[in-house]
Every structure is written in structure tokens, then in C-alpha cells.
């Protein structure tokens, strides 16, 4: 806390909290936060995965050969739990197919291939050349618009959590909550897109936060930021002091410590409470949104723009112009490397990571594209980087030093989890709280034996999930089988009952007749009477016929 540069009482959140554990890795942020935000024009073709958020994939509303304009809806998710996807550039839909893009799941994803009209290779990306080249929503006056309209706009614009979680924002905003926390912690090394956005676009971010607060009916907005971003804090502070917005705003300056940007850790920092393990922040009357997300909300409402590009930090020692770029979704890593990297490096020594170095994902296929979750791209030559783990790094035995326990923000015992996941004791793992692990990687960062702990946890988590799926399946099969058995037994029983009843009835009938002579005589008499009556009837009917 002592490092925080400026503190005004009326703009500063007063509660200094802390969370257990955490690490202080070297930041490497100055590589990319020194230059102004730039724009990267779309390449010749964009490959848009149709599922870019948590939730189900939506309905594709374009077909191959369609001419589309920038901002046009490609994937409609109105009826599903996902988020809409729009065209990042004008062009022609060339192909809709399943493509393997090297995502973590390893599964191919349905993607739309667009050939762009005004791509960067043509050098005439002038959008104001007379014809309409961009679709925009009708502008809203957010001060007078009702919250439902704003919420609908967030949904239409396909906004998702841009911090990396890609949870559809409209679902998070559909409740009435007191407090909006804007997460600008950006605690992972290398990443600076939120930092730069606040430095340059603080007014828009503040407006976006105000719109979000109105949608939520919130009374307070807290901007949470780490104390290593003094310029961003100053810029935000200035904006808050001059802005005449309806919702009260405060800044919470947190000490720099990874993973302070994690939702649970952030709540512990700001409110000094721990979010119950089975609850969402909404249960405490608050919602957390990333800076980039509230900015996207601003653009959707004030500029009518759907979410088609995002600010991406492109950094690393192989980038000739490191910085933050607006990159349209669907742009391949290959294109970015071609545009921004030193070209004469050997590709084998280059490693590319999407996301940060602690929670990101290795890019094994350069065809992988920027999506709504890609906040950072690190292109490094790792040969001389002491902090980076290389493929040849072999790990040693765990010496139970419990450094991992010291840094775990979830207060788990990582070495015990490692022990149990090695021996595949899934029940014990669950008892040790494996599912409370947020996979922040702090444990593996400090492990002196360089054990890839998080890798083990992911494996254990997916194994447990698989086991549960199988369990559910077999439970279902078992209950189906049991039901079938029961049904057969019941039918048998029913048949038996029916037969029994019929037999009884027959028996009863015959018994009646045989046991009671009077009854028998009666029955005979009755039958005779019936025959007689029938005869009479017949003769009556025939008589008129004869007359005719």
C-alpha cells in the first residue's frame, strides 16, 4: 500500500485487505506499456470460431458466398446461453467448416472463413468511401435509456468477459446488484492492455462503467488497480474527479501481487471477506467486470459497435514493435508475427504464448486466431530467458518444502494435491479441495523441483470429470435397466392378475350355476325367454315385409 502514488480520500476505497499467499514475479510490463495504442488492420482472411464464449454455440445466420459488412451478425446466440459473434470486417463468407486451431480441448471448432474487402494488403482501408461498409446499432442515450434496453444492447453486441473468462456479460448484468467492481489489476507479467486502455481511454472506460452500473442499478463503482500502474491510476483519478456521472466511483489501489486480479482474491482485497466456495460474487451484491469489458459496453451503447476486435498486448523479445493493438477477431497469430516480429529468427527457438506466462496457453499452431479471450500474445526467444521453463526442463522429486502452500491463494496444500494426483486418488483429491484450485500457477512458479503442478491438477480435474460422466452414464444405464426390470415384472404381475381375475370370474360364473339349482333353472328360463323374444321380434319385423 505504501507505494500508491496518489491518494485522495474521496476517490479512494478505504479498506486495505490482503489475501493468502501470492507471488511477485518480475513484471516485464515496460516492454509493451511505453507505446500508444495502435490499430492492426485485418488480414486478407479472417477465421472466426463461432463459439467465443462460455455457453452453447449459437446459430450461424450467414451462408457461404454471402457478402457481409463489418459488424454484421454471424452467429445468433439470442436463444442460447452463449454470446453473439459479429463480422470483424467486410467481405465474403468463403467457408464454414470445422477447423483444428490447437485450442486446449484439442477438438476442431466450427469456424467461419471470411475474405476481407479492405484488408491491410490493399492499403485503402478507408471506411468512409461513400458506401456503407459498417453495420452499427442505433445509438442509445444511456442516461435516459431504461436498464432493460441497455442490457439488451449488451447481449446484442456479443459482449463477454474480456479478462479471459469469456462469460457472457449480459447474464452477469441481468441481476440488480449494489456494487460494480471494475477489475484493472492486470496482475500477470507482460500484459499491459488494461493499463494502456486506462491511460489513454479513461473517459470511455468510466462512461462504460457508468452504463454498466446503470444496467445493474448499482450504487457504487470500485475501480481496482495494482499500485504498479501509477499513470493509469492518475488518469483514472483525473477522470473520476472531473466526471459528473450519477454513480459514485472510488479507486482501490492494491499492492502488486499475483494473482490479485483473480475474482476471489479481489473480493478478499477489497472487502476483507472470502467469497463462500459455492457462491458467486452476486450473492454478496457485487459483480466484477474487466476494464476491457466495460469499454466494450461503452462502444456498444455510445458508438453502436458490436464487439469485433479487442485490445491485445503483443510483447516479447521477438517483437520489433511491442505494444497494444486493436486486433480484429479471427486474425491469425501467423499474421501478427509477420507484421510485428523480427523476421530473421529461427522459428524453432521462438515460443508463442497466448495469454500471460502464468495462466496462458502455448500456441503450437500459428494458424490459431485472436478471439474474445486473447488478451496477450508473447513471442519470445526462450534460449536466454532464465525465468522460462523449457521443454527440456525435467522436474525432480517433491521435497515437501511447502513453498507452494505458502503461495497458494486458495490456501490449499499443493504438494498433497500433487501426491494424490500422482497416485490417482480422486476421492482424496476432492477432499483436499482440488476444485477450489484456481490454476493460477503460483505453486509451480515457486516449486524448487520445477514440478508442473498445475498440469497434474488439470489432468486430475479432467479425470474426475470423466469419472463422474462415466458414473452418471452407468447410473443412468443402471436406473434404466432397473426400470425395465421393474416394468417387466409389473407387466408380468399385471398379466398374472388379469388372468387370475378372469379365471376367478369364470370360476365364479360356473360356480354360481353349478352350486345353486334354482339359479341354474333361472338361467335356463332366462335364456329360453331371450330366445323366445328374439323369435317374436324377428317375426314382427318380417310381417310388414310380406305385406309390401
Amino acid at each position: 500500500m505504501n507505494k500508491s502514488p496518489i491518494r485522495f480520500d474521496n476517490t479512494t476505497w478505504p479498506v486495505p485487505g490482503k489475501f493468502h499467499g501470492g507471488i511477485k514475479p518480475e513484471e516485464y510490463k515496460s516492454i509493451s506499456n511505453q507505446t500508444e495504442i495502435q490499430k492492426l488492420n485485418p488480414p486478407e482472411s479472417l477465421l472466426i470460431p463461432i463459439r467465443q464464449s462460455i455457453g452453447n454455440p449459437g446459430k450461424i445466420v450467414v451462408k457461404v458466398g454471402d457478402e457481409i459488412i463489418q459488424g454484421q451478425l454471424l452467429v445468433d446466440n439470442t436463444d442460447t446461453s452463449g454470446a453473439n459473434v459479429h463480422a470483424p470486417a467486410s467481405g465474403i463468407v468463403k467457408q464454414i467448416s470445422s477447423v483444428k486451431l490447437g485450442h486446449l480441448s484439442g477438438l476442431p471448432e466450427t469456424s467461419i472463413l471470411i475474405h476481407c474487402n479492405n484488408h491491410s494488403e490493399q492499403k485503402n482501408g478507408d471506411s468512409s468511401s461513400g458506401t456503407v461498409t459498417e453495420f452499427r446499432f442505433e445509438l442509445l442515450d444511456w442516461l435516459s435509456a431504461p436498464p432493460e434496453v441497455l442490457l439488451a444492447r449488451v447481449q446484442q453486441a456479443g459482449i463477454v468477459g474480456l479478462g479471459g473468462a469469456t462469460f457472457p456479460t449480459h447474464i452477469k448484468l441481468s441481476k440488480k446488484l449494489d456494487q460494480l467492481i471494475v477489475n484493472a489489476m492486470e496482475c500477470e507479467p507482460y500484459i499491459t492492455c488494461d493499463d494502456r486502455m486506462l491511460r489513454e481511454l479513461a473517459a470511455q472506460v468510466v462512461a462504460g462503467a457508468q452504463i454498466t452500473a446503470k444496467t445493474l442499478n448499482a450504487e457504487l463503482i470500485i475501480f481496482a488497480i495494482e499500485d504498479n500502474k501509477s499513470e493509469a491510476i492518475a488518469s483514472l483519478q483525473k477522470e473520476i474527479l472531473t466526471n459528473n456521472a450519477p454513480t459514485k466511483m472510488q479507486i482501490y489501489v492494491a499492492p502488486t501481487k499475483y494473482p490479485s486480479g483473480g475474482e476471489k482474491q479481489l473480493i478478499e482485497l477489497i472487502h476483507n471477506i472470502q467469497l463462500p466456495h459455492n457462491k458467486l460474487p452476486a450473492s454478496q451484491g457485487m459483480v466484477i467486470q474487466n476494464v476491457a469489458t466495460v469499454h466494450a459496453i461503452f462502444k456498444a451503447v455510445q458508438q453502436g459497435k458490436p464487439l469485433t476486435s479487442r485490445l491485445v498486448t503483443v510483447t516479447g523479445n521477438q517483437v520489433s514493435r511491442p505494444g497494444n493493438y486493436w486486433i480484429p477477431f479471427g486474425t491469425s497469430v501467423e499474421f501478427i508475427i509477420k507484421k510485428l516480429c523480427i523476421n530473421n529468427t529461427d522459428e524453432n527457438s521462438r515460443s508463442v504464448i497466448m495469454g500471460g506466462p502464468l495462466m496462458g496457453q502455448k500456441v503450437s499452431n500459428l494458424k490459431m486466431v485472436i478471439t474474445k479471450k486473447s488478451n496477450c500474445l508473447i513471442i519470445n526467444d526462450n534460449k536466454n530467458e532464465k525465468n522460462w521453463l523449457t521443454e527440456s526442463t525435467s522436474h525432480q522429486q517433491c521435497i515437501r518444502c511447502s513453498e507452494c502452500e505458502k503461495v497458494c491463494p486458495a490456501q490449499l496444500l499443493p504438494q498433497q494435491l500433487y501426491w494424490f494426483s500422482q497416485s490417482e486418488q480422486w476421492d482424496k483429491l476432492q477432499a483436499q479441495g482440488l476444485k477450489d484450485c484456481i490454476e493460477c500457477g503460483a505453486c509451480a512458479y515457486v516449486c524448487p523441483s520445477k514440478i508442473p503442478l498445475v498440469h497434474y491438477y488439470r489432468f486430475a480435474k479432467s479425470s474426475i470429470q470423466q469419472k463422474q460422466l462415466n458414473q452418471n452414464k452407468s447410473d443412468k444405464a443402471k436406473s434404466r435397466f432397473e426400470f425395465r426390470e421393474m416394468r417387466i415384472a409389473r407387466q408380468k404381475q399385471e398379466r398374472k392378475m388379469k388372468h387370475q381375475k378372469a379365471a376367478e370370474n369364470r370360476k365364479m360364473a360356473s360356480k354360481d350355476l353349478s352350486d345353486d339349482p334354482a339359479g341354474k333353472q333361472n338361467a335356463i328360463n332366462e335364456a329360453l325367454a331371450r330366445v323366445k323374444q328374439k323369435k317374436n321380434h324377428l317375426s314382427n319385423q318380417n310381417a310388414p315385409g310380406k305385406e309390401e
Binding site: 493468502h20 514475479p25 518480475e26 507479467p189 476471489k264 478478499e268 472470502q274 467469497l275 463462500p276 466456495h277 459455492n278 457462491k279 515460443s351 504464448i353 495469454g355 506466462p357 502464468l358 495462466m359 496462458g360 496457453q361 502455448k362 526462450n382 532464465k386 525465468n387 522460462w388 521453463l389 523449457t390 521443454e391 526442463t393 525435467s394 525432480q396 522429486q397 517433491c398 521435497i399 515437501r400 518444502c401 511447502s402 513453498e403 502452500e405 505458502k406 491463494p409 486458495a410 490456501q411 496444500l413 504438494q415 498433497q416 477450489d436 490454476e439 500457477g441 509451480a444 512458479y445 515457486v446 516449486c447 524448487p448 523441483s449 520445477k450 508442473p452 498445475v454 498440469h455 488439470r458
Partner: protein, 352 residues
């Protein structure tokens, strides 16, 4: 690059941790060899050689990468600790048995580094102590009070042939200037107590106080090394501080009870293997408890047991026994002292 995140790593490696721990033992080892002669250094060299050869042999049999595993320096550390714990002129074949037992039985048979439930060095030490009680308690008196202090050649002869060229055995060198044999202070005082002598009476022996002084200096040097480890964040304070405070409190209570028949708290802290054990052996992460609360209980129990055994037990020093006993309890301690996981507080309270 690693398979999955994190790709970033920064901390001391296991090799470095082991190596720095060995380096932190240097001041204590130097002090010990100053007071007890070349035997300490010869023992160190022997034990290190034995330890690494034993480790390499097992790795060869287990078809592991010898160089990679030996370079984790854990065998080195076991060798160093045993070398410092053994009497200076212990016959070479006894230290061989101790070290090979430590590395092969107590460590590698359990699966190697990280999987051994007992501290290898202490297991080896106790094997020797129980098997060869006479040799294992045959400590030389400090250089300052010895009547015949062995030189380098004599020490070598004692270690390899059990007598010098002149036919002198260890007993000859254990004599002090007044013609009596001097054991370690803990041993000596314990024997005197059993003969119902008063503490003040025992301590009036000038030779004893000189010997105590030597042990105090040695312990202080180990304390310095331990503080160095603490400052370098190689070890965490839970275990050493809880052992020391428990040692002090337990002995203080006993001392208050009968100050003439028990040792003073400070004497306990600075005699025998106390500081070596507290800072370098009890803190062995592999065999200690791992949770913060577990470590405190672990340390408190060790301190308590040390004083109880020293005061009422049959052995003068009890560091090795206490640590091994608590090694046994470490998994249970870990099980019952798990920290409360984030977001589970209310449940815990509700359960209580």
C-alpha cells in the same frame, strides 16, 4: 517450453537448497574441527564419499540417470550431516555402515528423495548408536583440556586401524590432564546426576566447564548457519523456533522444580547436537510436517521429547530419537492441521 501453464518459473532449485544448506554448516563444522581435531574433517570426507557412492549404486540398480539425481545434492547433505554427528575417531567401517544404511535403506528403498518417511542421516546415526554404543559415545575431550590430543596421522590411524602406530587406542586420547576420562558434557553430567551429585558440585569441575565452553561455541556456530538459512528463506521459522521455545520452556519448568538435579535451560540449548538438530535436521522438509500449524506442533513435540529423554531417559542426547519419533507423526499432523481452504470458513465454523 512446458506443456501447459505456467511457463514462468523463478525460485531456488532443489539442488541449490541442498547445497546452500551444506554451506551453512561450514561455520559449525570449522568450530567442531577446531575443538575436536582433524577427525571431523576426515569423517566428513568419508561420509560424503560413502553417501554419494551408495546413492550412485542404488541408482545404477534402479536404472535411473545417476548424474542427474546425484546432482540434487541430497546425498551430499546426508553425508555431511552424518559426518558431523559421528564421533571424530569412529572406525571407518562403522561410518560406512551408518551412511550406507542411511542412503540405501532409509532413503532409496522408500523410493529416493522426497519419499523417505524418516530422516536418513538420523536413521543411520541411531542404527550406529544402538549397535555400537561404546564407540558412538567415545567423544574426545576438547583440544583445550585434552592431555594427549591426536594429530592428523594419529587420527587417521585411529579411524582406519583403531590404534596408533605406538599402540595407543582411543581411550588414551580421551584422558584429560587430571588423568580421568572426559565424555561429552551432557553425558558426563548425566552420569554424575545418577551418582546423586548436585549440579553446583558437578559444575565446579574446571575441565567440565571448559568442555561446555567448546560445545557452546560449536552450537553458536550452527545457530549462525541456521539464521543464515532462515534469512535466505531456505527454511521457514516455524520448526526451529518452536523446537527452541519448547526446549527452553520444558527445561525451564523442570529446572524450577529442582535446580540441583536438572540442567539449566540455556545449557540444553547450547549443548550436544541441539543447534545442529534444530536448524538442519528437524527442518528437513521431506520428513517434517508440511502445514504451518503442523510444523509448530511438530517442533514443540521434538523440544519436549528432547528434554524428557535427556532428563529421564537412558541416552544423554536425544535429538535423533525425538526427530525420528516426530517423523513418524508427520503424516498424521498434516492430516489434522490442514489449513482452511479459501471460501470454506463459514462451513468450518458451522461444523465446529
Amino acid at each position: 517450453m512446458a506443456l501447459s501453464s505456467p511457463f514462468f518459473h523463478q525460485s531456488l532449485s532443489t539442488q541449490q537448497i541442498m547445497l546452500i544448506t551444506c554451506l551453512a554448516l561450514i561455520p559449525g563444522a570449522l568450530a567442531q574441527s577446531y575443538f575436536f581435531g582433524y577427525g571431523v574433517l576426515i569423517n566428513l570426507c568419508l561420509c560424503i564419499t560413502y553417501a554419494i557412492s551408495a546413492e550412485a549404486l542404488v541408482l545404477l540398480l534402479r536404472k535411473r540417470k545417476i548424474k542427474q539425481v546425484v546432482s540434487d545434492n541430497s546425498a551430499l547433505l546426508t553425508g555431511v550431516l552424518l559426518g558431523l554427528a559421528l564421533p571424530q575417531t569412529l572406525p571407518f567401517w562403522m561410518s560406512f555402515i551408518g551412511v550406507w544404511f542411511a542412503i540405501i535403506i532409509a532413503k532409496q528403498l522408500y523410493g529416493g528423495l522426497g519419499l523417505n518417511p524418516f530422516n536418513p542421516a538420523m536413521t543411520g546415526y541411531i542404527l550406529l548408536l544402538i549397535s555400537f554404543p561404546v564407540e558412538m559415545t567415545a567423544w574426545l575431550p576438547a583440544r583445550t583440556i585434552a592431555s594427549h590430543f591426536p594429530d592428523f596421522t594419529e587420527t587417521l590411524q585411529l579411524i582406519f586401524f583403531e590404534k596408533t602406530a605406538e599402540g595407543m587406542t582411543i581411550e588414551y586420547f580421551r584422558l584429560i590432564t587430571d588423568g580421568f576420562t572426559m565424555a561429552t558434557p551432557l553425558d558426563y553430567i548425566k552420569t554424575e546426576f545418577t551418582q546423586s551429585k548436585m549440579r553446583s558440585e558437578i559444575l565446579s569441575n574446571q575441565y567440565l566447564t571448559d568442555n561446555i565452553y567448546a560445545w557452546t561455541v560449536i552450537n553458536s556456530c550452527y545457530l549462525l548457519g541456521g539464521i543464515f538459512l532462515l534469512l535466505r528463506k531456505i527454511i521457514r521459522p516455524h520448526i526451529p523456533l518452536s523446537v527452541l521455545s519448547s526446549l527452553f520452556i520444558t527445561s525451564f519448568i523442570l529446572y524450577q522444580f529442582d535446580s540441583e538435579a536438572t540442567n539449566a535451560p540455556l545449557f540444553h540449548l547450547f549443548s550436544g547436537a541441539t543447534m545442529l538438530g534444530v536448524w538442519f535436521i528437524a527442518t528437513d522438509p521431506v520428513t517434517a510436517a508440511t502445514t504451518p500449524r503442523g510444523r509448530i506442533i511438530y517442533g514443540l513435540c521434538i523440544g519436549f521429547l528432547v528434554i524428557i529423554i535427556r532428563t529421564y531417559g537412558g541416552y544423554p542426547d536425544a535429538i535423533a530419537f525425538s526427530i525420528l519419533l516426530l517423523n513418524l507423526a508427520a503424516p498424521t499432523l498434516d492430516h489434522y492441521t490442514r489449513p482452511v481452504i479459501y471460501g470454506h470458513q463459514k462451513e468450518e465454523q458451522a461444523n465446529e
